[in-house]
Symmetry: D2
Subunit: 346 residues, 4 copies
């Protein structure tokens, strides 16, 4: 059994990680960390776990935790993991960080967009960017994995094959993303009250959302050259799910079949990526509650653009599910373990 | 023109009052009070008013306000109005208090349920309980009106005729109420976040909600004897609206027509009460955005109970709309002025 | 492996049954019946199953199905199962009927409330009412199980101990229920469009909902005398979940501890019933996606009534989950098999 | 008083038109046309109008209607208005068509995208495209006005000044739009059921939505050259509102102030267009229930693109409100008459 500890287990992503791990046949949770709820029953904070989990919340002691577990998940705000991590911790336990601290290799870019001094840049090089389908080998050999952001996961997975094959103009990419409200987290803010989000849609972080450089870095690796994009997230009145609508100019005319075969080349063996049938477009309802990424595209011959649409459950493939998938890879167990939930509808 | 001042203009009920008053042909707002947003543009707090209202928010100075306006609305937490009001204020301006301070005539009951010392019990006697359709004459002659609670408005209006006529067993009344989330107010609490209210229903305040004694007092007046009820409010995932489902035992067998004629006797001349056609039951969508109270009932001959269902928009008839209706009555202008909005659907 | 066939697999309850069964370690689905979608891929009707199920929908041939499977689930409108079932089918396969056909033992009551002639009253006697926690032994020995209605499940489970112990006045029971929209089914009706249900609450079936006699019959068995109730369901804007708020007069004064110990007596060993801690009330969000029934109560000493609140996921404990639980009991495998999903929040 | 008749008064846009007109001080409705509900009380179809409208629904007799009213609104499917309209009707009454029949001047484009033979191409030339802020003079002098589509209204208004001034690359425009569900209409389709739309987002009509040529034609007029765009609408779980997020490349570098002054040049005198303050972005909640179009933009110096965001209430400025605005212009009364509703929040 893999012994797991979670720091930040009472955020939305943290509790989802708990839900996935307690039904994971090869893992068990040994530490429910939660700064805000120390000594409170975990199931008093999230009553869905009543009569399922009897543990109390513990503090954020990463050093002690490293003694007791095989893997530490940090589902914490940016700056937390990088300020506490050290060689000793990494010598004792593997770390999967769900925050942004180790996602961006260029420390200057991180510090500019996050307006934070990075406390452990020395680990950036050896850490792996945990986009499982792309970086499987790196992840396997790393003891520090940066779990990707929700928007970057959905975005990068869906354009990666096209960039890798050089089919789209790298300067033409526009990512218009829409997310459910669980992405805003569980902290009490007027803007996130029911009446403010319900019956509303808004864009936010326009031109300056922090997932922009993360997406650009990964796209640049795929393209083999610098990619700059526009990324615009929107908040919509639902709990879970991200839909990304991506626009790009095709370098040359392409048929549906040609593009389709490119996706097959990269993803036909992937259990968690579903390239939908022709003309069937991803919708968040069909991935909700699962680790799937649904992808499809349409070519507009009038403008020679391709429109790529992808959907994930932001708390699963966009956070906790991918974290478990990374754990499975790092511990060399079957990658799909604990992640074969069928999407829940309605 | 009636000069109006609002203390607490930036809560949900306060801003709704603003919306109603700025289209009221005989009133104008002179004071947008808001402790939390002093000196901030009102339209920065509620952007629906951008290019409509250019005023800044002011402080809560009730004495100064009384000099400048004809009517003061207090859309504030309990305890506020009763702690500031005095004879001098009341000699200069009429006061419509949207809080609970003057709703309950028995000061002991108020202090027990609200766990507050009442600061101005001397005004309880002369104040009027502003349930317009029932207390019109009292309201007309009062300069301090207690605007009823949202649940009491919907509840009392819908059973009043039956109690007045002595048709139902006073000890059998059960009120099961359901409200949209705007009733919880705009303060930032985890429990009121979108993800906590969406896709959920919960009961709250079971056996001890503070609207219970207010409902009981009004029902007791109608019945001419002490009435004790069970009142259970529920929070449901929508912005606006209250539906109350009320159960009571009929003292004797009654036909639909007999009960129907009783409602007609009391309400046939009321513009804001709609007794629906036989077998058509109230739904909140048909009153949303309006000052209407929709009411209907079914008799269950199997159990000899009557089930009375009523719907209001909690922010209008349940708060700001009724406050305007009270103002109209107090200033002896046409009661429907500024309140003839058609319900907005969908 | 238990071979299962589903007639009516493309309704909301049917597809939920599919979802539960494909992850059930001791069962496999052999027949995806759907009159409306014969020969269409099941995963084209419900795209959540894309790349998970490759079967096509088949017709409703119950006789043929009985040859091929061990258990037949009928998730069909009332009248269907009773018109096709016969001795031969029952000699070959066990049947779990999710419709109302075999829920009510008194055929006259069925025919009156459902306005249908019952085609197979001869099986009523030997069939079991599949409320697992109450009728486990009967279910074990039956080859025809009537899976309870969603409202009756939530209602009966939560008052059963009180009736059985004779603690509440049998003539005082009022059930006020609230359901998410998946209970209305997937047929295309104007009343069930998004814009009609969203931002609305309505009561329906007031005094004449068909679950009334089903609830009354089960309550009468528990009480050992005839029980007549008022039952009022409401439709609220969410996908899943039922909350029932039940009012009853206590025959004698009772303390919280006394009532609590009664619930413990009946349910302390039940895996799918959670009696919550004192003052913690059920909410649908904490059971969504699971087979749990959450129950708690408050005593109002002012009126000597008890208010019992219960929550289930209407598609799981209220339909497909309980059907699987019944299957597990009938086939004498561990009752919780395939049903240990943690509630999914948010 | 302007006598008005509505054909198609029981669709969502039709009933909204009714709501606006019955509070319009210079108009009265003489004909509630509704093919589906002939002889039924209008207020039985939309109970919000109970005790407000006592008229019955009438048939679709346009010739007879022209005798009785001054203005005919056709809130009907495409093909209806163009198949019935004739010189005689137009000689007796003004016509405002809310369908697409007269929006596109090029009959070939109409027939290609709508897959319909146009029955009255002879009126295309003299009809006016009723985008009030742009075509006021044309509308004033026309007796047949094509009320714009909801998406085109929001899109064209928000980019018009930039195209007119030649500031953006005409080939770079991408329109990503999001709409509430009232845009899908009131017909009973499985796809539009509550459970299918709630907790979901999907794109639809990708590369082939019928509003594309309408938007392109209007953009081309503004730019003085042919414009081809990508337009992708999405359906989100709310009742009302459209948000459009538009991406375009700036021909030259521009400052916020330069672009801002361009918007001022075109719209500073417009009552229904609100250019928001710097960094404040449109949200649908702030325009819901009103005739406003809220617009703002951000410039991304990294990519030299401008992102323009706009919000409308799809049933008001996107349909019924703009139709009333057109009527006001055609009848030379104050343009804002009956349209000064403050946005309703929450």
């Amino acid at each position: 059994m893999i012994k797991a500890g979670i720091i930040g287990s009472t955020g939305y992503a943290g509790q989802e990680l708990v839900r996935l791990l307690i039904n994971h046949k090869s893992a068990e949770i040994k530490w429910f960390g939660s700064k805000s709820y120390i000594n409170k029953n975990f199931s008093d904070v999230y009553q869905n776990f009543f009569k399922i989990i009897s543990d109390k919340c513990l503090d954020d002691n990463m050093e002690k935790l490293a003694e007791e577990v095989d893997v530490i998940f940090t589902a914490t705000p940016q700056g937390f993991c990088s300020s506490l991590i050290n060689e000793e911790i990494l010598s004792k336990a593997k770390v999967i960080d769900l925050s942004a601290d180790f996602r961006i290799k260029d420390v200057d870019v991180y510090e500019e967009w996050y307006e934070l001094k990075h406390k452990s840049p020395q680990f950036l090089k050896s850490s792996a960017y945990g986009l499982c389908e792309i970086n499987r080998e790196l992840i396997k050999n790393s003891n520090l994995v940066a779990n990707p952001g929700c928007y970057p996961t959905c975005t990068v997975l869906s354009v990666y094959p096209l960039l890798k094959e050089g089919l789209i103009d790298e300067n033409s990419i526009i990512v218009d993303a829409k997310s459910g409200a669980s992405g805003t987290g569980r902290s009490a803010k007027t803007d996130n009250l029911f009446c403010e989000i319900n019956e509303n849609i808004k864009a936010y972080g326009v031109t300056n959302h922090r997932h922009t450089p993360e997406i650009e870095e990964q796209m640049s690796y795929a393209a083999g050259k610098t990619v700059k994009i526009n990324f615009t997230p929107h908040l919509i009145p639902m709990n879970r799910g991200i839909l990304t609508t991506i626009y790009a100019s095709l370098k040359n005319e392409q048929t549906y079949e040609e593009i389709s075969s490119v996706y097959d080349k990269y993803y036909s063996g992937e259990r968690f990526i579903r390239i939908l049938d022709k003309d069937v477009l991803p919708q968040t309802r069909w991935v909700k509650g699962s680790n799937f990424t649904d992808i499809n595209f349409k070519i507009d011959s009038r403008t020679n653009r391709i429109i790529i649409i992808a959907a994930i459950d932001n708390l699963i493939k966009g956070a906790a599910g991918q974290a478990v998938q990374n754990m499975n890879i790092m511990f060399k167990i079957e990658e799909t373990t604990g992640l074969m939930q069928v999407p829940v509808f309605p």
